[in-house]
């Protein structure tokens, strides 16, 4: 193909701004623009987005990086899951009423002290579970917890400031993951957030392919999927957040890997995983109270995940890592109805009375309803109803 002598910036702009041009017609201009400052300047100055959108973008920022309000996610999910108008049209009030009575009775029983929370569970509503593990000192409410990795008893310590993982240099090759296995399985939708603090990370030249600290989850059935979000150092990419998932076949061979990275200099912040349906969203924040940045979204399916781990490893003998995790929050399971969200603290006694009252009224209404129907049926059409 001939090289261009004069700069055809008009044609170049036209071709690169009009997506309908066939690739074979674009090729010449694509090569030209790589080295033509004039064309680049023209293309840079062309405001395709318009003033209104420019202002909107200034105001909103990149919408795809905005943190998602969990309550909004839940209400959308609930609305999408069941079209309420359609549900109403089905005249399914009777089963719902019976269910409500049963639920009211159950709530009253729970509020009256009839149920005991298992260790570690701090809040339940239907099948919704929420855990908060400060990790400031050894947790005493994690029966399935264990330390994992070589020399874990030396490298992993529960300190007042958090779970500390210290990986000294000198480990040949790729060090297996070292850290805490919580033994907590994740079911349904979930959100996991943990704070991290970097005390020491290697220089990129010493880091090997990857030296990360990671919020890590996995499953072994029906397929083997490992996924997580990391603060890491890599020899070829420097300091990054990394959000990734890897799939293996039953023989342990990697069959797929997807990941995104974002450069960062954060030495403290938070890592977050949110699954809604089969979609897992990966977030990180660059300071303990900073907003989350969406790093990646992957379809990992709705299957249960077997474990949540807080781990680190090195992949070079020169690499060393010292970091802390703290304040592990986990919310999971069937999402609670919005009306069950805590609004204001209320006295339990009132709730018990209210729940019992609701049950009583519903039962009373249920008993009364057939009589009212019969009474109405007996009134002849067009006859004015008399007051008492």
């Amino acid at each position: 193909m001939p090289e261009m002598v004069d700069c055809p910036w008009r044609e170049c702009c036209q071709v690169l701004l009009d997506v309908s041009f066939p690739p074979e017609q674009r090729e010449l201009y694509e090569r030209h623009v790589e080295s033509c400052r004039n064309c680049q300047d023209h293309l840079d100055r062309t405001n395709l987005c318009g003033e209104a959108w420019q202002q909107l973008a200034q105001r909103t920022g990149d919408p795809t990086l905005q943190p998602t309000d969990p309550t909004l996610v839940q209400v959308v999910r609930r609305l999408v899951a069941g079209d309420p108008v359609k549900e109403r049209a089905r005249w399914s009030w009777l089963p719902a009423l019976v269910l409500l009575v049963a639920l009211g009775t159950g709530i009253a029983f729970q509020l009256a002290g009839g149920g005991n929370d298992p260790a570690g569970k701090v809040e339940t509503a239907t099948e919704y579970h929420e855990y908060h593990l400060p990790l400031r000192g050894r947790p005493d409410n994690l029966p399935g917890m264990k330390l994992v990795g070589p020399d874990a008893d030396k490298c992993v310590r529960f300190e007042p400031a958090g779970l500390r993982i210290t990986l000294p240099p000198g480990f040949e090759g790729s060090r297996p993951q070292v850290g805490l296995s919580t033994g907590l399985a994740l079911k349904g939708d979930f959100e996991v957030i943990v704070s991290f603090e970097v005390l020491k990370l290697p220089e990129p030249a010493d880091a090997g392919p990857s030296t990360p600290l990671t919020l890590w989850v996995w499953r072994t059935k029906p397929d083997r999927c490992i996924t997580g979000v990391s603060r890491r150092v890599a020899v070829d990419a420097g300091d990054q957040f990394s959000a990734w998932a890897t799939w293996f076949d039953p023989a342990g061979n990697q069959v797929d890997h997807k990941g995104e990275t974002l450069p960062t200099t954060a030495t403290a912040g938070r890592l977050r995983l949110v699954r809604v349906g089969g979609e897992l969203s990966y977030y990180a924040s660059e300071a303990p109270n900073a907003e989350f940045i969406l790093l990646n979204q992957l379809s990992i399916g709705e299957q249960d995940l077997d474990d949540v781990r807080l781990i680190a490893f090195t992949s070079s003998p020169r690499a060393t890592l010292d970091a802390r995790f703290s304040d592990l929050h986990i919310r999971m399971g069937s999402l609670p109805p919005v009306s069950a969200f805590p609004k204001k603290p209320q006295a339990r006694g009132w709730l018990v009375i209210a729940a019992v009252g609701v049950v009583f009224l519903l039962l009373f209404g249920l008993a009364l309803f057939p009589r009212r129907r019969r009474f109405r049926a007996e009134v002849p059409t067009g006859t004015p109803q008399q007051g008492p």
């Binding site: 987005c49 909103t60 795809t64 905005q66 909004l72 209400v75 959308v76 309420p84």
Partner: protein, 197 residues
Amino acid sequence: MAAFPQTRASLLLRLRDSRDEAAWREFVELYAPLVYGYARRRGLQDADAADLCQDVLTAVAGSLRRLDYDATRGAFRNWLFTIVRRKLADWLEANGKRAQGSGDSAMVELLSQCPAPQGQESEWEQEWEARVFSWACEQVRCEVSYTTWHAFWCTGFQGQPGKQVAAELGLSVAAVYLARSRVLARLKELVQSVQGP
């Protein structure tokens, strides 16, 4: 790229069919954040805003199925705003009675904001535009890679030179400009599809 979505006019038409679950999903994903965000900005707690959001979308869907909305009489966004305000007023009235009884100053202050002053309509318009823009961005972001999206955002809205972005992302300069053009075309396509009369 994904198939071009239904236009909003046909979305509203499709909503009349209670079996069209895709239409309902699209409707909820587009409008729930708008209504929820508006309620939150009016001072409602998240759970109350969620309840209101559900009430509004349920009412809107019901009205559409009863053919209450007539597109020739005004934009859908104005009709939706009317329903949002009415539901919000109902909520404030119901909760205001409790507030006046309890002397809850925050609730009384909230009540003082209703009925809506003139500025609320333009505020709603702005939020509508922002929501449509955000929704379109979310749709496109799901269709393209991270680098394509990032190339678009940096050159389209942050004014970064194409050459610089190309170096950062490991792309050719032409690929960056093409990413900008393609994403922008798709965004406009989507926004156009949901702009009401």
